[in-house]
Each structure stands twice: as structure tokens, then as C-alpha cells.
């Protein structure tokens, strides 16, 4: 049943990438436990606007855990403490009356802050542009049932493909590595017969781009998979390493 709680928020405010940021403290009363975390921030922003103060900038769009636009470090965890959810799916019923909640942006070298809680994740798009595709043009493709793909393989590819590109993996990693994100795409496409042909080339190009953009090295801490809202598995990283080795051997 819905209840109301009072909370204290410590929110990171930062004008832009170059400015120094700081925490601001806000108190909110009577927050329905049925509201979502972002709806709670909406309420805070409405209040700030009413007081003629600048609202807090944060990213969001679908608010149902699929677009990957929301971010936020909540009490030290990307997308909050609860597993398998994005920030937009987190509800206030997971908090208690009187809680103090710290909200920060993704902190990672490759994701500069734009304002407050909003960061630039353009680096992930650049990695995809380096090779996250099968090189096929529109039209002239064979019948969809021409290549049978076993259900197991299709399901495994699907599991890897559920990555929403949110950036929590790199934000969670002490090295700031994007390996989980990269490996998810490399795995999905390497598993499927359509994508196998380019698998080695793709792995090499994407990893090179990742390094170039300032992401750190993977030292297998596993923090990424623990915090990933879509439960992308570490086994993808193992597959990426295999593809990458193959590519190196061919060189």
C-alpha cells in the first residue's frame, strides 16, 4: 500500500564540464512510496521552479527501463542499489522515512558532465560507429528463414543484445572500462551466422576505438556486470577476448 515518506537529498550540482561542482541538500516531505525515483526528482524540480531556482538537469526519456537515457549514481551505485533496474524503474518504496539519499552523475573520464547529473555518453556511439554492425545495405537480402539459427544461439544473442547502452558499466568500473558494453555487441553479432564473417575485424575496431576514447583497461573486477541493469553477463567479455585474440593472430 502507498505511504508517504520524508527524505533528504544530497544532489551534485555542476554548471558545466569545466566548473567545479558541489553537493546541495534538499528536504522533501510526503513523497508517495508509489512514485518512481525520477518522479520524486520531478517533484523536487517543480518545487525549485516554484521558488524561482534552477531545476536539476538529469537525463531521462522512456521511463520504463529500455532507452538507456537515465543514469545517476544513487547512494554510491549506478541506477541505485537494487539489481536489474534502471534509475527510472526504481521506486520510492525502496527507501525509508528519514533516509538521506546521495545523487551523483556518472563519474568516468570518457563521460564528461554537461550539467548537474547529465553527462555526455557520445563515446559509446563512437565505439558503435567503429564496427558495431553487420555490413549490409538495405535490400537484396536473402529470405529471413534461409539461414536456420538454433533457438539456443538466438536466445544467447538476444541476451547480449538487450544492452541499453546506459554507461553504468564504465561508470561502475574503477578503471573506467567499457568492456562489458563492447563485448555485448561483439558477442551478439559473433554468435549469429550473419555476423560471424566480420567478427574478428569488428572486435579489433571496437576495442581500438574504446582505447582511443580514454576508457580504461579491463582487470576483471566484475563491478560492471554486478551493476548492469540488464544483467549482461561477464561471459561476453570472455568471448570478446577470444575474438580479439583471433584478430591479433591473423595480423
Amino acid at each position: 500500500m502507498a505511504k508517504s515518506i520524508n527524505i533528504t537529498l544530497k544532489v551534485w550540482r555542476q554548471k558545466d564540464a569545466k566548473s567545479k561542482g558541489h553537493f546541495e541538500t534538499y528536504h522533501l516531505e510526503n513523497i508517495s512510496t508509489d512514485s518512481s525515483f525520477l518522479e520524486m526528482l520531478d517533484i523536487l524540480n517543480e518545487k525549485l521552479v516554484d521558488e524561482h531556482k534552477e531545476p536539476i538537469a538529469f537525463d531521462h526519456d522512456c521511463r520504463e527501463g529500455i532507452c538507456g537515457m537515465c543514469s545517476l549514481y544513487i547512494n554510491g551505485h549506478p541506477h541505485g542499489y537494487e539489481s536489474e533496474v534502471t534509475t527510472c524503474q526504481l521506486h520510492m518504496r525502496k527507501f525509508k522515512d528519514g533516509d538521506v539519499i546521495t545523487v551523483e552523475p556518472w563519474r568516468s573520464r570518457a563521460f564528461p558532465v554537461i550539467r548537474d547529473l547529465m553527462v555526455d555518453r557520445g563515446a559509446y556511439d563512437k565505439i558503435m560507429q567503429a564496427g558495431g554492425y553487420i555490413s549490409v545495405n538495405t535490400g537484396g537480402t536473402p529470405d529471413a528463414n534461409a539461414i536456420p539459427i538454433s533457438k539456443e544461439i538466438a536466445d544467447e544473442a538476444m541476451d547480449a543484445a538487450t544492452c541499453i547502452g546506459c554507461g553504468a558499466c564504465a561508470a561502475a568500473c574503477k578503471n573506467g572500462s567499457a568492456m562489458l558494453f563492447v563485448s555485448a555487441k561483439v558477442s551478439q553479432l559473433a554468435l549469429l551466422p550473419q555476423g560471424k564473417l566480420e567478427a574478428a575485424r569488428r572486435a579489433k575496431a571496437m576495442v581500438a576505438k574504446m582505447d582511443e576514447l580514454g576508457f580504461g583497461n579491463c582487470t576483471n573486477t566484475g563491478a560492471c556486470a554486478a551493476e548492469c541493469p540488464k544483467s549482461i553477463s561477464l561471459s561476453n567479455i570472455a568471448r570478446l577476448n577470444r575474438e580479439f585474440l583471433c584478430a591479433k593472430l591473423k595480423d
Binding site: 502507498a2 508517495s32 508509489d34 512514485s35 518512481s36 525520477l38 518522479e39 520531478d42 517533484i43 521552479v49 516554484d50 524561482h52 531556482k53 534552477e54 531545476p55 538537469a57 531521462h60 526519456d61 522512456c62 521511463r63 520504463e64 529500455i66 532507452c67 538507456g68 524503474q89 550539467r115 547529465m118 555526455d120 555518453r121 557520445g122 559509446y124 556511439d125 560507429q129 558495431g132 554492425y133 553487420i134 549490409v136 545495405n137 538495405t138 535490400g139 537480402t141 536473402p142 529471413a144 528463414n145 536456420p148 539459427i149 538454433s150 533457438k151 538466438a154 544473442a157 538476444m158 543484445a161 538487450t162 541499453i164 547502452g165 551478439q188 553479432l189 549469429l192 550473419q194 555476423g195
Partner: protein
């Protein structure tokens, strides 16, 4: 009076598209490089079009509001995409998909467009598989299908409950490849605020950079809008927070006709409203109706006890449950089209049988399917949807039925386009949900993804060449022309006007008022009186906005409230258009239900003699009523019938 030329090719239905392609004009490869095309939007329609046009060799400028093209609203589509592959050998065909779509649209769509859509549907599936979209498969390795409302065959392809995501990631991968090649330039976190016309042709856009508020100008030989639907005019909808109708309204103000604005789809299975702080509604995919059964208590006392929290749904005996869809529509049962299912839910709730404390909910129950197939099978099919439901509603749908209620979901209406997907402004094209073209008065499930990708991969890349072929002599444009100056000036003036109001209402509080007016008076059941009330109330609301909104901050800055205010101003105009159109259409058809026009059993009653036309609204200036132009809908190949889902 202007006349409407829909440019439908001659010949038998099944040959029109082929005839068109055989005789249309093309642009040769060397000339393509010299032609610039602006594509606004990176949803299924925009991303597929931008990628394909880039592959063909055009120079493409692609815009989106999100921080990455992959996050467009299409990503949220759950259930699936239709195609006439007939892989299940259950009697499907291009003709049957065409027919179901026409009938599902309550005979208010253009035959030629719909036939073409059905025709290219099969290519879409081939294309997506080639891109690596991991569609669900059978153990034998072939593609799996499921059924959706309004069809008696299984023609829906799906990737778990994340079909839109996988299709969009496919299109995004093709787009990324073109960005890498340099044929597409991507502009993210950009909001298009106006379309620039030069000598009556669309030649560019005025854009607000959402990270710093700076105004930017871009020119091109043609402009394609792929900006999605305007459902957020109702404030609460299943659409993403940034979905909007602003580019459509700017195009309308510049002379593009707005067609059938009143055809708004209300989806029957959404998580009910639960608080006034709520920012959006969440859809529970229609695919759930394959295995879920919809019911309310048979006895009013039971419904009352449930509302008061004294009784649980699982305590209601089988014989005391009213599976009202199965009762009213034995042939289609739980799989009737959306408009029919939504109205039936409203009818039961209005009659006092609704559940949830508000009385505005019905049950979607999986217990029978779980008993028959096992929990694991249900989990494999709908696991992510069940998880999503549990997160929001805090109830376990494996153990207790889901509670659902209809919500605004999709807009069939939109910018008018001809057969070539060109609007009434030369050089301005509209694709995907933002155009009005293929779904008539009601869209069938899994057909929006089909239409978005059909437009973007297989239709526009052909038809736009027919326009561009005589533009090859036109040199690249400068953005320093008086037309760009003027467009930018008026955009900045509007921004300043809004900022200078310095009133007492937040943007969201006015948007919520708009939503209430729209849902109350222009929602699921409309009457002449309710629509007239809406029009009055909207006038007042418009005044309230322009005199009492408060937007903090500066114009030239990252200013989220200003962006929302600009969109809200346009939503209010869309609201007015919807109400006007609904008032004009004295009939019930598809998603447009006028209570005066129904059969004794409560089914929609069309008035074919008078209303078999597309309503095209033409802007006539600030404060003056729009002009109505009619595109007659002649049904050459199908016989118009009363829709019947009973037997």
C-alpha cells in the same frame, strides 16, 4: 479551394507500387553526392531512412533530441512487427494483411498505401535478420510468430518483449555504419524548432542546441520529418517524455495539412493511473492478450469489496468472473482490436464493475495459461513485461492478475502525405508515426513498427528521388538567406516571449490541465457537448499559458523548462485541432467514438455516405479557424463492411 492530389498510381491494386517504381525518376550516383537531405528523427522511420539514403550516396543530416540516436521512442515498442510471410502456413498473404489493416482501420485508410505496406512487409523481416536482429526462433531454427489483436493468423515477429529495441538497434547499427563512412552526419541533443521554406519548398531547419540553447541553421535540398506521434498532448500516455508534436505543428503552420488529428489510439492494456505526481503510463504489450484473459467481477458487490480492499481477485470464483470480451466477441475474444477492447473496459468500469481503489481498472489474468503451459513457458514469453509490471505495481503477476486500464498510446492522425510520402509542402516529406497514412481510424498491433521501417527502408528512398531528380542543378544552399534570418528571428522571439511572461504556473502544471481536458472531453467517448466544452476550455488554457507560465533561466543556456514550454505551446494547438476534427466528424470510427453514433449493442456506427474522407486541416492564420479540405476515400478493391469481431 485547394484540391488534394494523393498521386495514387494507376492500375490494379497489386501492381501500383511496381508500376510506380518502374516509371519514377531516379537520381544517378554522381548526382546523389551533390544533394543534401535533412532527416529529423532517429526512431525506426528516421534511422532507417537516414541509413538507407546514406547508403544510396545522398548527403544526410540527421537530428534527434536524445543524447544518442539509439534512444528514440521506438526503442520502447514491446510486442512485435507484422509481416505477411505466412511462415506458419496458416493462410496469411499480402492480401490478407492488407485487408486486416484496412478493416482494422475501420475503412478510413487509403487502399493503395496499405497494399504497398503489406507488400514490403516481407522485405523488412529479411532486412532485419540480415542486420543481426535476434528475433525469437523455434527449436528447428526457423523464425517464431505470435498473434496480435485484429488478426486470425500468426504473423507477428518478435524479440522477447523488446521488439522495438531490437529493430531500432538494427537500424541504429546501419546508421552508425553510414556515420562512420561520412555519408550521414549525426546531430544529437538538437531540437528542430522550425522548417525553413524558400520559394515554397522546404529547404532547411532552425534548431535549438539543447545543451546550450544556441540556435543553429541547416540547409538541404529536401527535409524529411520522422518525429513520431503527438500522444503527449494528453499529458499521460505511453509515449516517452520527449515525444512531441512540435515539428508537425510548425509544418502545419507553414502550409502542410494536418490530417485526421482526432484519430488517437487508446491502448487497452496499460498500468492504471495511481497518483497525481505520475509522469507517464506504462504499456503492457498487447501480446499478453495471447495468453492473458480479461475479466471483471460479475457481481457489483464483489467489485465494491475489491475496491475497498476487502476481497482479493484470486478469491473470486470462476463462475463469478465476467470475461466480458470473450462474452461479447466470441470469434476474436481477448484478441479484438484495441479500440474495441478499450471501450469495453470503459463500459464495464462506468457500469460499476471496475477494480483497483479508483474503480478504473480491469484484470488481465494469466492463471489459466500458467496452469496450462507452466510458469517457465510464460516467463520465457513475457518475463521482462512481468518484471516491469512488478516494479511499478509492486504485485507479482504470476500470483495475482495484473490490473490494467486503457491509456493514450498512438496517433493515427498526423501530417498529410501523398502516395510518395510528400506533404503538401514540396520537398517536405513525413514518415513513420508523424504522418497519417496507413492506419485509418485505428492501428492494429505490431503495424507501427512495420510502417516506420517500410517508410524508411523501402518507400521513401525511392519516392524522394522522384522529387530530387529535378533538383540536381540546384546548388547547395547558404543559411544566410533572408528566409533563414526571418525563421530564426521568429523562433528567438517566441522563446523570449515565453521567458518574459514570468507568471505563476509551472509548465508541467499547465500540461497536466491540458491532459485532463483532453482525457475528460476528447478521450474515449466524445459527444458534441463534450467537444464544445473542450474547445472553450482549451481557449482559456491557451490564454493561461501565454499569460501565466513561469520559465526560469535564460534563452541561450541549457534550459529544460524552456524546451518543455515550447512543446507545450504546440500541444495546446494540437489539442484544439483534435477537438475541432472530432467535432466535425459526426460518426464513430476506430479510435474516434462519438457516443451519439453507436448501435444498440454499443458498437461504433460509421457514416460512410458523409464521412468517407480524410479530413485535411489547413492553417489559415493565428486566431482563425482552420480550413477543412477533404480527400475522398474511394474503395475500389474492398467492400466496406461493418466491422464484426463477434462471429
Amino acid at each position: 479551394m485547394s484540391t488534394i492530389d494523393s498521386k495514387i498510381p494507376k492500375g490494379p491494386l497489386a501492381e501500383k507500387w511496381t508500376n510506380y517504381k518502374n516509371t519514377q525518376k531516379l537520381v544517378n550516383p554522381a548526382n546523389k553526392r551533390r544533394l543534401d537531405i535533412i532527416v529529423i528523427g532517429t526512431g525506426l522511420a528516421g534511422a532507417s531512412a537516414a541509413a538507407t539514403l546514406g547508403e544510396l550516396g545522398f548527403n544526410v543530416l540527421n537530428f534527434c533530441m536524445q543524447d544518442s540516436p539509439r534512444r528514440a521512442h521506438s526503442i520502447a515498442a514491446q510486442g512485435g512487427i507484422n509481416a505477411a510471410k505466412n511462415y506458419q502456413n496458416d493462410g496469411d498473404s499480402i492480401y490478407r494483411l492488407f485487408y486486416d489493416t484496412i478493416k482494422g482501420g475501420d475503412y478510413r485508410a487509403r487502399e493503395a498505401n496499405v497494399y504497398r505496406l503489406a507488400e514490403v512487409s516481407n522485405n523488412i523481416i529479411d532486412q532485419c535478420v540480415a542486420q543481426g536482429v535476434p528475433f525469437a526462433r523455434e527449436y528447428g531454427g526457423t523464425l517464431a510468430n505470435r498473434s496480435f489483436g485484429g488478426a486470425q493468423v500468426s504473423r507477428t515477429f518478435y524479440a522477447k518483449g523488446q521488439t522495438g529495441q531490437q529493430l531500432l538497434l538494427g537500424a541504429y547499427s546501419a546508421l552508425s555504419r553510414q556515420i562512420q563512412k561520412g555519408s550521414v552526419k549525426e546531430y544529437t541533443r538538437r531540437e528542430v524548432l522550425d522548417i525553413v521554406l524558400i520559394d515554397g519548398r522546404a529547404r532547411g531547419v532552425i534548431v535549438r542546441n539543447m545543451t546550450n540553447g544556441k540556435i543553429e541553421r541547416y540547409a538541404a535540398h529536401a527535409v524529411v520529418m520522422a518525429t513520431g506521434g503527438y500522444g503527449n498532448a494528453y499529458f499521460l500516455s505511453t509515449n516517452a517524455m520527449h515525444s512531441n508534436g512540435s515539428v508537425a505543428i510548425q509544418a502545419y503552420r507553414k502550409g502542410a495539412y494536418f490530417a485526421n488529428p482526432c484519430y488517437v489510439q487508446i491502448h487497452p492494456t496499460c498500468i492504471p493511473v495511481h497518483g497525481d505526481y505520475q509522469s507517464k503510463l506504462t504499456l503492457m504489450s498487447e501480446s499478453l492478450r495471447n495468453d492473458g484473459r480479461i475479466w471483471v467481477p460479475k457481481k457489483k458487490e464483489d467489485a465494491e469489496a475489491i475496491r475497498a480492499g476487502k476481497l482479493k481477485p484470486t478469491q473470486i470464483k470462476e463462475e463469478d468472473r465476467d470475461y466480458y470480451l470473450e462474452r461479447r466477441y466470441p470469434a476474436f475474444g481477448n484478441l479484438v482490436p484495441r479500440d474495441v477492447a478499450s471501450r469495453a473496459a470503459k463500459e464495464r468500469c462506468d457500469a460499476g464493475y471496475g477494480v483497483a481503489p479508483s474503480g478504473l481498472a480491469v484484470y488481465l489474468d494469466f492463471s489459466e495459461a500458467i496452469n496450462r503451459l507452466g510458469k517457465d513457458a510464460i516467463k520465457a514469453k513475457y518475463g521482462n513485461l512481468f518484471q516491469m509490471y512488478e516494479k511499478i505495481a509492486d504485485e507479482n503477476p504470476y500470483e495475482t492478475p495484473m490490473m490494467i486500464y486503457p491509456a493514450i498510446h498512438y496517433t493515427m492522425g498526423g501530417i498529410w502525405v501523398d502516395y510518395e510520402l510528400q506533404t503538401s509542402i514540396p520537398g517536405l516529406f513525413a514518415i513513420g508515426e508523424c504522418n497519417f497514412s496507413d492506419h485509418g481510424a485505428n492501428r492494429l498491433g505490431a503495424s507501427a513498427l512495420m510502417q516506420g521501417l517500410a517508410d524508411g527502408y523501402f518507400v521513401l528512398p525511392y519516392t524522394i528521388q522522384n522529387y530530387l531528380s529535378d533538383q540536381i542543378q540546384v546548388p547547395r544552399f547558404s543559411v544566410d538567406t533572408p528566409e533563414f534570418e526571418e525563421a530564426e528571428r521568429s523562433v528567438v522571439e517566441k522563446e523570449n516571449r515565453i521567458l518574459n511572461i514570468q507568471g505563476h504556473r509551472t509548465v508541467d502544471s499547465i500540461h497536466k490541465d491540458l491532459g485532463h481536458i483532453m482525457w475528460e472531453y476528447v478521450g474515449m467517448g466524445r459527444t458534441k457537448e463534450s467537444l464544445e466544452t473542450a474547445i472553450e476550455k482549451l481557449k482559456d488554457l491557451k490564454k493561461e499559458f501565454w499569460s501565466n507560465v513561469y520559465v526560469p533561466g535564460k534563452v541561450e543556456d541549457l534550459n529544460i523548462e524552456l524546451g518543455k514550454a515550447l512543446r507545450l505551446a504546440d500541444f495546446i494547438e494540437i489539442g484544439e485541432l483534435i477537438a475541432h476534427d472530432a467535432l466535425n466528424r459526426n460518426e464513430s470510427c476506430g479510435g474516434h467514438f462519438r457516443e451519439e453514433y453507436q448501435t444498440p449493442e454499443g458498437e461504433a456506427l460509421r457514416q460512410d455516405e458523409e464521412y468517407s474522407y480524410v479530413s485535411c486541416w489547413k492553417y489559415t492564420g493565428e486566431g482563425s479557424a482552420p480550413e477543412l479540405l477533404k480527400e475522398p476515400l474511394d474503395y475500389e478493391f474492398t467492400e466496406r463492411k461493418t466491422r464484426n469481431y463477434k462471429n
